[in-house]
Amino acid sequence: MIYRETGQFKSSYVSDQAIFPLSQDRWMVFSVMGVAFFVVPFVASEYWLQAVLIPFLVFSMATIGLNLLTGYAGQVSLGTGAFMAVGAYITYKITTNIPDIPILVVFLLAGLVAAGVGIIFGLPSLRIKGFYLAVATLAAQFFITWLFNKVGWFYNNNPSGTIIAPPRTMFGIMITGPEATAETRYLVGLAFVTFFALLAKNLVRGRIGRAWMAIRDMDIAAELMGIRPLQTKLLAFAISSFYCGLAGAMMVFLWLGSGETETFALDVSFQVLFMVIIGGLGSILGSFLGAAFITILPILLTNAPPMVGIVMPIALSKHLEEIIFGCLIIYFLVVEPNGLARLWQIAKEKLRRWPFPY
């Protein structure tokens, strides 16, 4: 109904291949971005920023990362938490040893290290597929968290064993550390996520994205067409881990302020995987939707009963939450296994065809 697209014809490949070929989509995205950058920081409360929006951004980044690997390249990974840990610990290590490097550059460097680690743990993907690979990625999860726990070098041998975000400024603005305002951290995170989401979109709509999807959809045919399986998969692991590493750095330095290996436990890997599936495999938009859904759902579940006046023991409410969460996941998979992105796509398709059914 909203989509009046008659007359939007493309006379160049550049405009035909644009990310948002329809002007309505373009406007919507621009307005959302406008609100996110220029309105939200001024109206959102500390609680909203700290408890909802910043974690949403952190998980969006991680979800995009895992979606590149699992949704686009078809390689299931349960090691997301570990790659995030690499990002966080390496950022800590670099910035505490060489405080002069601008903190955001450190983020990127840590992302690169995470990419390297991703390549190493992606190597088995040449020989093994599917769930064998998924389980193999658990090796990364357990080994890396163990490593950061055991080897004091990574946390500068401090007695608590935790890494704490030191105060760092860029352009005179405090970005990390206890002094950094939630608004600043939100804006930095938002800028990061926006930029890297765009890069991810560019990747998946070009040669590399097609190679990934080819491997995912029909790996034998892909190889017979000249796509090198190992290189393609390793690139997916590397880029995916880079995003996860960034997300891990953001998690400690923009959100929590401190972290330990438990912060990046297997639960985080599953959480991100949920976001990917609920959001929609193979969709960048879906990554955001999934991250939003899974970030907000527990908050709702925790806050809903008190709102209607029900007070429960914490343990009970925690277990109830687990049950509801688990059942919702199953229900959701039954209703729409292709995720929120698919739901949105269907809705959009209907709007574009309205009032016709096809």
């Binding site: 088995p124 064998y132 389980v135 726990n149 017979l224 599953f270 688990g326 996941i329 039954v334």
Partner: protein, 311 residues
Amino acid sequence: MDLLYKIFINPFVEMIDGPIFFAEVIISGVLVGAMYSMVALGFVLIFKASGVFNFAQGALVLFAALTLVGLLELGFNLWVALVFTMGVMVLLAFLVERFMLRPLVNQEPIILFMATIGLNFALEGAGQIAWGSDVKKLDVGIPNQTFEIGGILLNSFDLWAAASGAILVVVLALFFHKTFIGRALRAVADDHQAAQSVGIPLKTIWVIVWSVAGLVALVAGIMWGSKSGVQFSLSLIALKALPVLILGGFTSVPGAIVGGLIIGVGEKVAEIYWGPLVGGAIENWFAYILALAFLLFRPQGLFGEVIIERV
């Protein structure tokens, strides 16, 4: 040099120096491995018959053990409680088939996998709400005495556990090969359509498989629970079973057994002889690295079939 010595020479010297201790390590590894095998068996059963990678197997173990303990605490007789728990596991299988497998039939494996993670959450939550989340002692009367044979210390409980594991495997083997339902299950595992054309309703098969997996979980739950108490961490032994699966192959019952033993022994030996070098607690990941290294040489696992790809 010193490090190399510590890695490559020292542990072996220790093994030879203390043969009895080494034997004890091996045996305790075997016994732990038997437990792993039992959990892995549940995975294999379900994967074989329905292609579902059941991440909730650990939660099934927890749920079964919690139910049993809970019933015992309510004062039921052990046997009544056992039968009742079995009933609960079968009921659960029905629910899973009706509300999860049936609507998700023909979906991608990863979707089903995700669904089992959801199931995992729900079961953990439900079990703990129903029966509480404290550590509970489970005593089903298995004797727990330490004795010595040829200088090697043994625990009767561990032997019981190993024995019940062995019995379970034998029973399952008989079930698979000698009964009609067992043959049907194997047919399904080989080819869904062919199985249906023989006239076996897939839905029934799934219920049976999940029930059997539930019962296997119950046995595993009893064993683990009796040994170290019934608590949330039971759920996590599923993670231990995963490397067993890669090693043994997802579809092989013998693979699950042998894989479990290898992992159990390897893990113990590594922890005791090499663990101290790196600060210990390597049990968490050692099994995975071992399985992974193994996979590089045999991608289909120990007992998996070689796949000839066709185009």
